[in-house]
């Protein structure tokens, strides 16, 4: 018994911290953001069941997310208009899960006949079709406007009406923990392992006797089911559902999150979902160039760290386990490398922000606020500062990067020698 608690201790601590967060962040916006993070954590982990564990790249996962949202909104409105008997809001994700699983089973049946790029293209085609459907079949989807709803309906058990955002947050937190734990347990089952096997070597899996197609189909359906659960929570959170939730853009977003977080590890998508949601909501008020930064970050991570953030961290696992002091020894060169990169990056950001400013706004004065300080975009001085930072950064990087690499190589070689001992 104690062992179980010990192995789950990390989870329990995380759950506790998450439960206490509303004490620190109690504004409407912050709670909405936290709620959104929860929803997207479910969605991204569900998506990773397909991508990371199943090896299937899908551009159409938003279909299950969005359609579950539409059904949920209709039912909520039905309850509000007293056309349908009351169904507790707490159990709505089950509705979403059913919707997701049903549609997922159908589309999955059609898609899993193929693998790899064909599969990806089919999912893209379905997604475009689904988006078009939502825009055309106005009676059910209400086209461009989407559908609004009121989540304060029906009796209020224990005084909980889900009007206040904090109550929605706890609802979402509960379901996030529940679904994530479920998905984690699935990875530990034989089915989960088979999914991995099919991902790594479908031919061999077939030779052992497993029906590759069936394994994929089941993985697809399960993944869609959890995505559907996320979708209904999404609708409750925003009291609105629109065609964007079904679109390729939404699918792309969850793909970003999963990938940047790291598809190779179960917790990767969680990191990705939380981090990117945060950046996405906060960055866009700070800078107009946020899409550019997102694109560059993405390209850089894909090119240099395709294991995502989780991959980067896990890479250091063996070092930490072998000898903690090695890890500490790496901190200095890492910090130096990061510092010099930051110098260059600050310079680049400064230039980009000023370019944006000049191209978009042509007011008389040239004041712009970058990094909480005021610069004059029309004066040569600001440009010189940032270009200087870029050049300085490049120079520093040339010095610190090899040192960091040295440190890494050294640490790894120590690890290797310890292992072979």
């Amino acid at each position: 018994m104690l062992n179980i608690i010990k192995s789950f201790s990390s989870w329990i601590i995380i759950a506790l911290i998450a439960a206490l967060l509303p004490m620190m962040f109690d504004s409407y916006f912050a709670l909405t953001l936290l709620s959104k993070m929860g929803v997207l954590v479910i969605f991204t982990v569900a998506y990773n069941m397909l991508l990371g564990q199943g090896g299937m790249l899908s551009f159409g996962h938003a279909i299950y997310f969005g359609f579950a949202g539409y059904v949920s909104v209709h039912i909520l409105n039905g309850i509000g208009g007293e056309i349908i008997p009351y169904f507790p809001i707490v159990l709505f994700p089950i509705i979403g899960a059913i919707v997701g699983a049903s549609i997922g089973a159908i589309i999955g049946y059609l898609s899993t006949r193929r693998a790899g790029t064909a599969f990806a293209m089919i999912s893209l085609g379905f997604c475009e079709m689904a988006t078009a459907f939502t825009l055309i079949f106005v009676v059910f989807f209400n086209g461009e406007d989407g559908i609004q709803t009121d989540r304060v309906v029906g009796p209020e058990p224990m005084g909980i009406s889900f009007g206040p955002q904090v109550e929605v947050y706890y609802l979402i937190l509960f379901w996030t923990l529940l679904t994530v734990i479920l998905m984690y347990l699935i990875t530990k089952t034989p089915f989960g392992r088979m999914s991995n096997a099919v991902r790594d070597n479908p031919e061999r899996a077939a030779f052992i006797g497993y029906n590759v197609r069936h394994v994929r189909w089941i993985a697809f359906t399960l993944s869609a089911m959890f995505a559907g659960a996320a979708g209904s929570l999404h609708a409750i959170n925003y009291e609105h559902i629109g065609f964007e939730s079904v679109s390729v853009v939404q699918s792309g977003q969850v793909l970003f999150m999963a990938f940047i977080g790291g598809v190779g590890h179960f917790l990767g998508p969680i990191i990705g979902a939380i981090g990117l949601t945060y950046l996405d909501s906060v960055l866009l008020d700070i800078t107009e160039a946020w899409l550019l930064y997102l694109g560059v970050t993405f390209a850089v991570i894909v090119a240099f760290a395709p294991g995502g953030l989780a991959g980067l961290i896990v890479m250091h696992g063996p070092i930490a386990r072998t000898n903690k002091s090695l890890l500490i020894g790496l901190i200095k060169p890492y910090l130096a490398a990061i510092g010099s990169s930051l110098t260059g990056i600050v310079g680049v950001i400064g230039i980009i922000e000023m370019l944006y400013f000049k191209s978009l706004i042509s007011k008389g004065e040239g004041e712009i606020i970058i990094f909480w300080t005021e610069f004059n975009a029309n004066g040569i001085f600001s440009w010189i500062i940032f270009i200087g930072l870029i050049l300085g950064g490049i120079y520093l990087c040339k010095i610190t990067y090899p040192k960091a690499k040295e440190g890494w190589d050294h640490a790894i070689s120590v690890v290797k020698s310890e292992i072979s001992l």
């Binding site: 790029t117 064909a118 475009e128 055309i136 009676v139 793909l255 694109g295 370019l355």
Partner: protein, 315 residues
């Protein structure tokens, strides 16, 4: 009869535009398996470059210079970007081009602003060549048609009759063997990628002035290109041509068909209560769903025959 001829002619015009846009991508996709999400971005860059260059020296120089510039940029992207990512697999390549798409879009906005730019048909070709059904066709459209036919013929000739084309075709189906025969396959890849991007850029030069040149071009045109190359078959130029024409004709004819299920039901003798919930489903005319038809075709093709019409390899 007139109307049918008109629709056929129009469908071909539209189809050839699609072909120009997708010819490059089918080569890239077919050879390297790289699903270049940023292909339409190069199309957009071509249009913007052409706009900028024609502001200085006119349209005809732009017609030559812009695609070349884009081809060079494409080659560099392949050499310093894609090649690095190649070893991480197809998913990584695809995601890299995803990021590239955003980057190009933002850079275009930074330089030229977010408003559409005034890129227009060159005056020298802006006259009516002939009329069909009371509608005149400007000489520029015929020029575009001629160029796209020329591209097809030129590419076909290069691939089928020249040695370079032979190597490219071989690398399409058997890259490892070609490499072991001593050919510099990475260099072939770079050239093909650059060529593909250059073709997209050329399409941008020719179509940017009729479709409108603004930063969201790539977003609108991207998906349809994928439909074309998948339906046509990867790596098959012939397939891309046939698929483009098919989709062009399909969409043109669909728009002129104002019939809906309702009409068919009425024809068969049923009358449907137009107030019912299913009204929308039945009342939709084919012309209203014309733009979705390509995606339907995509899904059907991928399920039934993933190789596409003329593909040499399974997708």
């Amino acid at each position: 009869m007139d109307a049918i001829l008109f629709n056929i002619f129009n469908g071909i015009l539209y189809g050839m535009l699609l072909f120009m846009l997708s010819s490059g991508l089918t080569l890239i996709f077919g050879m390297m398996g790289v699903l270049n999400f940023a292909h339409a971005s190069f199309f957009m860059l071509g249009a913007y470059f052409a706009y900028q260059i024609s502001e200085f020296v006119g349209f005809y120089p732009a017609l030559i210079i812009a695609p070349l510039l884009i081809a060079v940029i494409g080659a560099y992207v392949e050499k310093y970007g894609l090649r690095r990512v190649h070893k991480f697999g197809h998913v990584a390549e695809l995601l890299f081009t995803f990021g590239l798409f955003y980057i190009i879009e933002e850079i275009v906005q930074m330089i030229w602003g977010k408003v559409p730019v005034g890129y227009h048909i060159p005056l020298s070709m802006d006259f009516s060549l002939f009329k069909i059904m009371g509608m005149s066709y400007p000489a520029y459209q015929m020029f575009t048609l001629a160029v796209s036919i020329g591209i097809f013929v030129g590419l076909f000739f290069v691939l089928a009759k020249t040695r370079a084309g032979l190597i490219i075709k071989a690398a399409l189906t058997h890259p490892e063997i070609v490499s072991s025969l001593g050919h510099n396959v990475p260099r072939v890849f770079m050239v093909v990628f650059g060529l593909g991007c250059g073709l997209a850029g050329l399409a941008g030069v020719l179509a940017g002035n009729t479709l409108g040149t603004d930063p969201s071009m790539a977003l609108f045109l991207g998906p349809i290109v994928f439909v074309v190359i998948v339906v046509g078959g990867l790596g098959s130029l012939k397939g891309a041509l046939v698929a483009s024409l098919l989709i062009g004709l399909m969409q043109t004819f669909a728009i002129s068909l104002d019939y809906s299920l309702n009409n068919i039901l009425e024809f068969l003798g049923f009358s449907v209560d137009l107030e019912s919930l299913w009204r929308i489903l039945i009342d939709i005319t084919i012309s209203q769903i014309a733009p979705i038809l390509p995606y339907l075709l995509l899904v059907v093709m991928l399920i039934a025959r993933p190789r596409g019409l003329f593909g040499t390899r399974d997708v």
